[in-house]
């Protein structure tokens, strides 16, 4: 039996070394991840208060137990212990009274930090949290949506949360914030983050099969970075200075995300015809029909790609109906036009 115990001890030592990060401000402490919100120090204070009291009483109890088990051990032939009182009112009042007073303090500090965390300040920046099996969606006031959570540092941020299916719970350990998300009602929580960085959001209310994969990355950024990100998220076609893209730039960006794998811009044929110099040309189809490559043909090919496939190419494209806004389709047209005819 010795071997597993020894290897366990070795593992424990190793785990403790890994678990105690060298820099408590950046990586947290033995017990906690980093404190990244105004709530965290308050919550942790209560934790450590209870922790040291518990450590003291545990040590006291174990020491007393070991001491008495040895001091008053049975000695051969001496069956009876010594005379001692069967009860002691003063003693019993003491060990009821002292824990009672100590617990009042635990109760009170815990209540205070709970109320702090449970009372969203007015005028906080509001993010809608939509939880469903098994992912998160965050909706920002300007209409931006994302699956990762971005927050401005040193700002009050309120989360208004709802669930599409079953119970979930919103937990960011670095913030010490947790709130259940209950189908059929909205729940709220809030945070004032204090430290830029990347953290993890967990679902902590069991919600079925992939509960353990229901996580999201949390990015706390300075205000300017956040403003840029959220503006871009609402409208991806803005440049560094917040100026809107030209239609050609919009088209180019979409090309880089969706079209490049099948359509070249250098004239070479890949899966589909190249876009270079294609605008305004006559396209020939398998059945011999021809049609001018214009705005209407492009839009039709995008939404109903199988209708008229250029001769010599497989009908491999899937429909993009509903994927792009009109302005994005216009951008694609402008981009193809810019590739020459």
């Amino acid at each position: 039996m010795n071997l597993p115990i020894l290897s366990t001890l070795a593992n424990l030592v190793q785990a403790a070394q890994v678990a105690v990060p060298s820099d408590p401000t950046a990586e947290g402490t033995f017990w906690f991840p980093v404190q990244a919100s105004t709530l965290a120090p308050k919550s942790d204070w209560t934790f450590y208060y209870i922790y040291w009291i518990s450590a003291f009483f545990t040590a006291l109890i174990v020491a007393a137990m070991i001491f008495m088990a040895i001091r008053y051990r049975y000695r051969k032939g001496v069956w009876d212990g010594e005379e001692s009182p069967g009860h002691g009112l003063a003693l019993e009042l003491t060990w009821s009274g002292i824990p009672f007073l100590l617990t009042i303090a635990m109760w009170y500090t815990g209540f205070k930090s709970y109320m702090y965390g449970d009372t969203p300040p007015p005028n906080g920046y509001e993010i809608q949290v939509k939880a469903r099996q098994w992912n998160w969606e965050f909706i920002y006031p300007n209409g931006a949506k994302s699956t990762e959570l971005h927050l401005p540092v040193e700002q009050d941020v309120t989360f208004v949360m709802s669930s599409a299916d079953v119970l979930h719970s919103f937990w960011i350990p670095a913030f010490r914030v947790k709130k259940d998300i209950v189908p059929g009602r909205y729940t709220k929580t809030w945070v004032h983050s204090t430290l830029e960085g990347q953290y993890t959001l967990f679902c902590t209310e069991y919600c079925g099969k992939d509960h353990s994969q229901m996580m999201a990355q949390v990015f706390v950024e300075d205000q300017a970075t956040f403003d840029g990100w959220v503006a871009k998220q609402a409208n991806p076609y803005l440049d560094e200075d917040g100026q809107p893209f030209t239609p050609v730039a919009i088209g180019e960006k979409i090309y880089g995300q969706h079209c490049f794998a099948c359509h070249s811009i250098d004239g070479s044929a890949v899966v589909g015809p190249s876009w270079k110099g294609s605008w305004g040309t006559e396209r020939t189809f398998e059945n011999g029909d021809t049609r001018l490559f214009d705005e209407n043909y492009f839009k039709e090919s995008l939404l109903d790609p199988g209708a008229q496939v250029v001769k010599g190419f497989p009908p491999a494209m899937t429909s993009y109906r509903g994927v792009f806004k009109d302005s994005e389709i216009d951008g694609l047209i402008a981009y193809i036009k810019s590739l020459g005819n």
Binding site: M68, W79, S96, S169, G184, Q213
Partner: protein, 560 residues
């Protein structure tokens, strides 16, 4: 066993030539239809140990799966079933019925000098309802499993495809089993105490089981109705807990914890009751502050009804409701603290013998202290928000459910085993089992506190790599714990075959179950023994020759 056993000159202390309750009648039917509380206790013992082993297999599967971050054994769905079945089997089939069903049934009437419980047939029915509940749970295993967690939280439990109805039906039967046991003990304690045994002359085991019984009778119906509503909602689409039909999921949580928090005290009070017996007997001292310990059991039973909302601090219930529940939760810590200090003081100036049951009792003191004190972190609203639904809570309640209750159950089994089966087990093996369990348990669960507060959510089939080291330590611990439990069970059961004959009173205990033959005769006592002051060890002297604690001339009993 044949009645033709050999007797020596010490027959009287070994139970004499009379048939005992084990061999008074024979055949499977004589057990199935027995109304003897001792036989029912024995059947409960075997049944709950079986449930413990089944739940333990799931526990080991859970721990093994978590060896690597992406999961070692199975897909997420199957893992979810593992932890659900682990929890459901352990809670409903082992921890709740374990001590009252097995040891309460066996020892309580004997301690009262009674021939049986008040309603022996109801007692038998209680066991068979337990067995039916167990059959339902086993059926769940083969009919699609269960993946709701043992808490059956809605609306997931309404939506999942697994065998929720089978499981809640099983829990429903088990609820009745529990109510019948409780009802029986309440009436037995009220009506069947010997004339000169007042309430404050009862062993504390009886106080504990009595307090438990009150909760069983009052709280369990709420669980029954709640689970029934859940079953109706699932089958008929009624909107009670499911918001899609206008129900409220949080209402389910209120109903569920209205039972299930008191149920925690259904589990822990009998464990405390055993510890009181063990501390007194093996310290050869009356439990220090007996009256306060007795009252604290009742206080815990009453307060236990008023704290359920502390499971819901993050559920969206109002902050003021949470405040009230937090206040009441801290109130209940005081009687628990009183008990610990009083047990400790019982050893003071005693004559402490470290036999196997006492090893379990001392282990209990450490684990209950840790389990109780970590409850403070969760009763305090501010810290609970961070720790709720993490491994911290998993560890906390395992320190109470396993570290305290299972250890007390094993302590009690090792204590009453010689009386139950008339055989002494191997002390060295008994202590080895206790030591392995103690080491294994702490290695399993202490790292889980650290994991939890550092950010590991509970009920996760996969996890972030940063937690792997702690998970691996925990898994190694679980296998040591499993080995310890196996050694403990093996030690006990093998003693039936090859143990030494047990004397009438091997531990020098003062309560009345040790005044009858070992194993007891079918009707417990020929005549009700004289009631002596509770925990008065002064007239018990060890007989080196027989290994028995003999009663010497009782001179002190006249003042009773």
């Amino acid at each position: 066993m044949e009645t033709k056993v050999t007797h020596d000159k010490n027959d009287s202390i070994y139970g004499g030539a009379e048939p005992n309750y084990l061999n008074a009648s024979k055949g499977i039917l004589s057990w199935m239809f027995t109304i003897d509380h001792k036989r029912i206790g024995v059947m409960y013992t075997f049944g709950t140990i079986g449930a413990l082993m089944l739940g333990g297999v799931f526990a080991l599967l859970v721990r093994l799966h978590l060896w690597v971050p992406e999961g070692l054994l199975v897909d997420n769905q199957t893992y979810n079933q593992f932890f659900t079945l682990h929890g459901a089997v352990m809670v409903f089939l082992f921890v709740i019925p374990g001590i009252p069903g097995a040891l309460g049934n066996f020892a309580l009437p004997l301690m009262l000098g009674a021939k049986d419980v008040a309603f022996p047939r109801v007692n038998l029915m209680s066991f068979w309802l337990w067995a039916i509940g167990a059959v339902f749970f086993v059926t769940v295993l083969v009919t699609g499993g269960l993946d709701t967690g043992w808490t059956f939280y809605t609306p997931y439990s309404v939506k999942t495809d697994t065998s929720v109805i089978w499981a809640v039906s099983g829990a429903f039967f088990l609820g009745f089993s529990s109510i019948f046991t409780g009802l029986n003990f309440i009436v037995t304690v009220h009506r069947m105490r010997p004339k000169n045994m007042g309430w404050f002359n009862m062993p504390l085991f009886i106080w504990g089981i009595y307090s438990t019984a009150v909760i069983q009778v009052l709280a369990t119906p709420v669980l029954g109705i709640t689970l029934l509503l859940l079953a109706v909602e699932r089958s008929a689409g009624l909107g009670i807990f499911n918001s899609e039909f206008g129900g409220d999921p949080v209402l389910f949580q209120h109903f569920f914890w209205f039972y299930s928090h008191p149920a925690v005290y259904i589990m822990i009070l009998p464990a405390m009751a055993i510890i009181s017996e063990l501390m007194a007997t093996f310290s050869r001292k009356k439990v220090f502050g007996y009256t306060l310990v007795a009252y604290s059991s009742v206080a815990i039973a009453i307060f236990g009804f008023l704290v359920w909302g502390h499971h819901m601090f993050t559920s969206g219930q109002s902050a003021w409701a949470s405040l009230v529940f937090s206040t009441l939760t801290f109130s209940i810590s005081i009687p628990s603290a009183i008990k610990v200090f009083n047990w400790l003081s019982t050893m003071y100036k005693g004559s402490v013998r470290l036999d196997t049951p006492m090893w379990y009792a001392l282990a209990f003191l450490w684990m209950f202290t840790v389990g109780g004190l970590t409850g403070m972190f969760l009763g305090s609203m501010g810290t609970d928000v961070h720790l709720h639904d993490t491994y911290f809570i998993v560890s906390h309640f395992h320190y109470v459910m396993v570290g305290s209750i299972m250890f007390a159950y094993f302590g009690g089994l090792h204590y009453w085993w010689p009386k139950m089966f008339g055989k002494m087990y191997n002390e060295v093996m008994g202590k080895l089992g206790a030591a392995l369990m103690f080491i294994g348990f702490n290695v399993t669960f202490f790292p889980q506190f650290i994991m939890g507060s550092r950010g590991m959510p509970r009920r996760y089939a996969t996890y972030l790599p940063e937690f792997q080291n702690l998970h691996q330590v925990s898994t190694v611990g679980a296998f040591i714990l499993g080995t310890g439990v196996a050694v403990g069970i093996w030690t006990l059961f093998s003693s039936i075959v090859n143990g030494k004959k047990a004397p009438q009173n091997p531990w020098g205990a003062a309560s009345m179950e040790w005044e009858t033959a070992t194993p007891p005769i079918e009707h417990n006592f020929h005549e009700i023994p004289t009631v002596k002051p509770v925990y008065d060890f002064s007239t018990l002297k060890f007989n080196e020759e027989t290994g028995n604690w003999d009663r010497i001339a009782d001179t002190s009993e006249d003042n009773n």
